[in-house]
Symmetry: C2
Subunit: 507 residues, 2 copies
């Protein structure tokens, strides 16, 4: 899928001497290293070095010697990175987001440490020195210019920070990535540590405030590996009935807000989380009457690309392009068109509270479950096991103009309600959740006290098969506690619904 490329994409003479094999490069990463890798939602991650590193670590482990590293990324990567390293038990600590089955298994069996961090916090924590020294950066780029600048690939994530902070830099120059990406990126170099921070000079989605390339200190580049391998390119499921219903409720709500004068006719910049439901909402917008939309988001998925293609979305800012194989083909084929309409930025900018609040982003994020009082669990199963992570949902939800969370009302073929009395892990508090949407309906919680939220969430969002149980819990809590601000039966908050469901099934 690559376009015609010159023999080598390492155009800088001096750097060409650093080209080596992935195995040789992997050998430069010592045990105990903090390694900052590129990669965001399956895009732009290094594809060869982590695999060779995993092989090497497996051999070392087979000799009975210990070898682990810490892996810091932008967000989720792919089997060749998280998967390969987790399989051989090579990761001591992982941050700030993952979605890999092998990683998840390790974390939940207790053999890998994981820190789930707001995506906008990561770069600054490293600059502040809160996470220790970054030893090695392993960064995929699309090419190296004659004067030694780096052309970013399909995601930016924390790459700017990793390149600035790491002692050693390993580059993967991936000729699968289109060189025509050149010019799509906007790398802002104006960030500082307090007390030297300045306002970020952006007032619209389309504003370019940085440079097209990464700066890099050539002396710290220890290896360059030439690769030719595709991004993860996961296919999206076609929108199912539930996703279409969720999209429909959201579009009705947005239309209602426009009519009430609370949103402009072309809305405000859209943010859309990862995954199929979020993708379906974007697909729903394509069929809607909305025009001249913009997006200020983390990741650009298939349906958003389609929204650009049809002309409804005039400008999208993100930190990654994460497409299916089919959409990737279209993206590469029409990249001159898309380059005028897509800006890729560092995730400290795509997810920056200052910018999200200033632009007035409409945030739409998936969740695992919500409780009747409007607290949202985005990360945990059963209160103890991690699913993926909070990602950027907190950055967007807290600072959004309107913050929505969405999920089908049930999981496991209807056996489990995604609306519960009390979530057993809170990622987004009642203070940050304005709208909850399921296929059943939409609950607009703005301006409502906890009890009024509960009534509305049960009425609008709960699945009919769980409504009686939730109503019973709420009614009993209203009479079973001395605190009627947020009525709960603490002894039953986590167990009532499962017990009710089991009894109901036995009926």
């Amino acid at each position: 899928m690559s376009i015609d490329a010159p023999q080598s994409r390492v155009l800088n003479e001096a750097l060409r001497s650093k080209i080596m094999s992935a195995a040789e490069a992997a050998a430069l990463i010592p045990s105990g290293s903090h390694v900052g890798m590129s990669g965001f939602t399956g895009s732009g991650y290094p594809k060869f070095v982590p695999v060779e590193l995993a092989k090497r670590i497996e051999e070392i482990h087979n000799r009975g010697e210990p070898f682990k590293i810490s892996v810091w990324t932008g967000a989720s990567t792919a089997p060749e990175l998280d998967g390969a390293l987790a399989k051989v038990d090579a990761i001591e600590m992982r941050l700030p987001y993952q979605s890999d089955p092998n990683c998840r298994k390790r974390i939940n069996e207790g053999t890998m440490d994981y820190i789930d961090i707001h995506l906008s916090h990561v770069a600054q924590y490293v600059w502040f020195g809160f996470l220790g020294k970054l030893d090695v950066a392993v960064i995929e780029v699309a090419g190296i210019t004659e004067d030694g600048h780096l052309i970013p690939s399909s995601s930016i994530g924390n790459n700017k920070t990793w390149l600035d902070q790491a002692d050693k830099i390993i580059l993967e120059v991936n000729s699968w990535q289109s060189l025509a990406l050149d010019g799509m990126h906007d790398i802002y170099y104006g960030t500082e540590r307090p007390p030297n921070r300045k306002p970020i000079p952006m007032v619209a989605v389309a504003d370019r405030i940085g440079e097209p390339y990464f700066r890099v200190d050539p002396d710290r580049i220890v290896a360059i590996v030439e690769t030719d391998s595709s991004d993860r390119c996961t296919a999206f499921s076609p929108p199912d009935t539930n996703s279409q219903l969720i999209a429909g409720h959201i579009i009705d709500f947005l239309a209602h807000e426009v009519k009430a004068g609370r949103l402009p006719a072309n809305l405000l910049p859209l943010q859309s989380g990862v995954g199929n439901v979020a993708n379906a909402v974007m697909a729903g917008l394509e069929a809607s009457h909305f025009e001249n939309l913009t997006a200020y988001t983390e990741v650009l998925q298939d349906a958003m690309l389609s929204l650009i293609k049809c002309g409804k979305l005039t400008m999208a800012s993100a930190t990654a392009v994460s497409l299916s194989e089919e959409a990737t083909a279209d993206f590469l084929q029409n990249i001159d068109f898309y380059r005028e309409r897509i800006i890729l930025r560092p995730q400290e900018i795509s997810n920056h509270p200052e910018l999200i609040r200033r632009l007035g982003v409409i945030a739409m994020n998936g969740m695992i479950e919500a409780d009747i009082y409007g607290n949202v669990n985005s990360t945990h199963i059963g209160g103890t096991a991690i699913m993926n992570g909070i990602g950027g949902s907190g950055d967007f939800a807290r600072n959004a103009y309107i913050s929505m969370f969405m999920t089908p009302s049930t999981a496991k073929n209807g056996a489990i309600s995604c609306i519960v009395p009390m979530v057993n892990h809170v990622d987004h508090t009642e203070h940050d959740v304005q709208v909850i949407v399921t296929e059943q309906g939409l609950a607009d919680l703005r301006g409502l006290s906890p009890k009024n939220r509960a009534k509305l969430v049960i009425e609008k969002c709960a699945h009919p098969s769980f409504k009686p149980a939730l109503q019973e819990y709420f009614d009993r809590a209203m009479h079973g506690t001395t605190g009627l601000h947020t009525p709960h039966l603490l002894d039953e908050a986590f167990s009532f619904l499962p017990k009710w469901a089991a009894a109901h099934k036995a009926d």
Copy 2:
């Protein structure tokens, strides 16, 4: 305690005709109104009109007729406002923060609705139209200039927004407030609704970006009431042993961070929550070696004033001055000195995520309890009853350079542990809490996975009498769940510690 003042502080001729009694002004507020009142942590609230309104409502209720209003403020007020209105059951809905015993009782018995909102969100929600129309503003000011501008009093809170948005404006001109406050305020009029927002042009605590007075449309002023009555002026307890120990741990930590190169020698702007413990930390700083400090906070309490007086704190930005009677006397006596070192701003600016993050604020907030994994409950007792509210703690914690939460390790004379297995209400998630401090010690959670946080919180922060119980819970959770990312025993998460404590007591 007032300084010499002219006969009337209403210097504008035209407006003088609107002077009337508090009872006459209160009669202009209809039932069902949304009323925006001034007031922030017991400062600058209207002192006469709410009392007269409460009287009127009580009479109406005695006739068997309904009469309720919604009360929006900056933050907490005083007995003459929240207390008087709550006593006569006059409040339908209250936001965004309260700390009044009568309000609390109403909320928790279910006869008053309460919405607990991040303080930085309130003004914009009103501008966006999310809370409905503001009908009446009741605002205390220190005076009215000849050309009709309003000299703010001892707090600013949301007054700018209330004055801009209300249909009818009632002013209380309080001659107890010093006219020498004139020049201490900085009212920023550059806020807009998206998509027209611009960067807020502040890069240092000392920057003045606005105007000294409130603008007001004279046609909407329906009443002016002349008052002469003091702010709440609650006394602070002298720092007790626990507070001093907490302050000591924080000061040691800050010194350690300076030594490690992670903080400048004069630190970064300090934010300190309300109450005795927060006040004690500031008192501790006065005895420390730190110099040239600044503060970017919501409320300036006694100890911070003292820090300014002794020259250690060179500049403080806040939205309210909330002092004891004794400190008030000093403040008024030396107001020319303090006016050069204190800037009072609207709370949408004092609590703005953009500015808190840019300035790199060191946030120090009290809490009710924390769990071993670093989730914080700032608002609820027993998971159901409200104490006060989240206030600005979320604005500061999420966007701070370093975010600390502090509490004595036990409450109720040692009967209850403030470190628990799982908090039964989450206001600050594990993603937003970096440091937990009790009199026992300080747990620095930066860069730690949940399990490592748990070990450290138990070790450093738990009271010795509860350590064995917490350790037992954690150990059993490590073996009693399939999810070892955040090990919990959901059936016992809320009940284990109380049961253990009861059994322990029976021993």
